[in-house]
Subunit: 307 residues, 2 copies
């Protein structure tokens, strides 16, 4: 009965192993040892170095499914012998929720209130009917648009070229980012880290922000010049910053961000394993179904471009 | 040129005085001293006792506009000689935003992360595609429905009688509240405080909540049995609680809520003066326009019912 069902290996054995095996079956496949499999679902994002070893000792793997949205550590192992997919966009919804939560919490004064031990005067700003600027035009930005539906917010999207983004009031090119951040209540970073976007938020961008505005980073720590941010906060050039990503990670103990009254740090948890594994499993089940049906897979990596 | 324009007094002189005088003019009225006025906009929510004194010494006030949504301190002064209005629903949108922000922050672990000074393991839950139970069926609940649009959340509304609420997946009567809170990720209190709803969240309700669920109170401190809440938190019966309102207010220094690792306190700032005054001004301008046009006013108080 399994002739038409793709044989899929799930390796290495890890914490997310069981739900990914279930996903293979749910998608219409059968779980097989790597030697017999035509596809491989890589189940442990923390062991890239074991992948080429496994691929070298088996034949017949036509598709490798990687569990990440950002695949930087796997780029050296990509090849043209098979189809590679990543989890592009799969985790966007929880990350977008986290970004909006952080922005609201910042604007509403939670950096102060969460640490207070006495009743204090009113502070904080609304986001309803406000202005949001989002850097990046991928899945997270798309999901943010959806979550912001009820807010009546005016959204500016900043991307490499100023091609319009669905739902955005305006789209500006990265070069026009000073104009993009001016007047926004919230500036959210949700873009890929490339040589072009490293340090995209520095002294000039921070100075251009409204005094009450908050910066939210759910992209990569390298997008923000940390020293410039500390200086801008102390100069009152922005309301504060919520950072779910830092450079380096983990953020070292004793770093001034930890205790800054207008900084909130979360430890890269826009998408926790608990949130992400079911989403990854759905993605895998979908792709196993596509493989069985001979359809194009979702999240195919451009091997030459490396993403 | 001012014959057809309502003469409106704005008293007592207070911080919100200027924007309310502007609102009178914007609505088509003229600002007049109380002796000459046909309407009175009460500009200071903190001085109820001065109102009857003023009304006793002038004639001709046909409409009194009160600046509050909840008008408990003014109830003794209401009369049938004129129309009384309150700011019912006027502040609902910022309060709804605050409630949702608090709920997201709680679920996402911010009570822990905001106080941490070191990188810590992932925790937290999504609200996307989750379940929200809201107590109350007024303006805040209506605005919450709007804000939650993009979340794909299933909303249960709890109200005195189980009349359907627009947008809610189900509406349950207050008597069925144990059923209503079971399985929700978030329980939000946005109902009026009456003898019937005092202590509406006690030991039984807290025990019925999901272990990971957060309670958010933006209504009145008296809705929640504080001792039962502390006991339930320590017993792990719910994820935590975000309280924008407490009994008493201010919450006394040293109260265990201030330092509880799974409690977030904000000092009754769902609607800060900065957010609320423009909304109140719009409401006043609207009502002055209605008065000039001979239309029914917005937010008319039922004097016998006292709300």
């Amino acid at each position: 009965m399994s002739e038409g069902r793709p044989k899929v290996a799930v390796e290495p054995k890890s914490g997310r192993f069981e739900s990914l095996e279930e996903a293979v079956v749910r998608g219409g496949g059968v779980v097989a040892p790597p030697e017999d499999a035509q596809a491989l679902v890589w189940a442990d994002p923390h062991r890239p170095q074991d992948l080429p070893e496994l691929l070298a000792r088996v034949d017949g793997i036509e598709w490798v499914g990687l569990p990440f949205a950002g695949i930087e550590p796997y780029v050296p192992y990509l090849d043209h012998e098979r189809v590679w997919t990543c989890a592009r966009g799969v985790y966007a919804r929880p990350v977008a929720e986290h970004a909006l939560m952080l922005g609201l919490a910042g604007l509403r004064g939670l950096a102060t209130y969460a640490r207070a031990t006495t009743w204090s005067p009113p502070q904080g700003h609304n986001l309803v009917d406000g202005k949001v600027t989002v850097f990046g035009a991928g899945g997270i930005t798309e999901e943010l648009m959806g979550l912001l539906q009820g807010w009546g917010a005016e959204v500016t999207v900043v991307r490499r070229r100023a091609d319009p983004f669905p739902g955005a009031a305006r789209t500006l090119a990265l070069d026009d980012r000073l104009e993009a951040v001016a007047g926004a209540d919230l500036v959210i970073l949700a873009l890929a880290l490339t040589p072009e976007t490293e340090g995209v938020i520095g002294a000039a961008e921070l100075a251009a922000m409204a005094d009450h505005a908050w910066l939210v980073n759910v992209a990569r720590g390298g997008h923000v010049d940390a020293d410039a941010l500390l200086a801008a906060l102390d100069a009152g050039e922005l309301g504060g910053a919520c950072l779910d990503v830092t450079e380096p990670e983990p953020l070292p103990d004793g770093h001034p961000f930890w205790t800054h009254p207008r900084v909130l740090i979360t430890p890269h948890i826009g998408n926790t394993p608990e949130m992400g594994i079911p989403l990854l499993a759905d993605h895998i089940a979908d792709n196993v179904g596509r493989l069985a049906a001979g359809e194009e897979l979702a999240g195919v990596i451009d091997v030459d471009a490396g993403y």
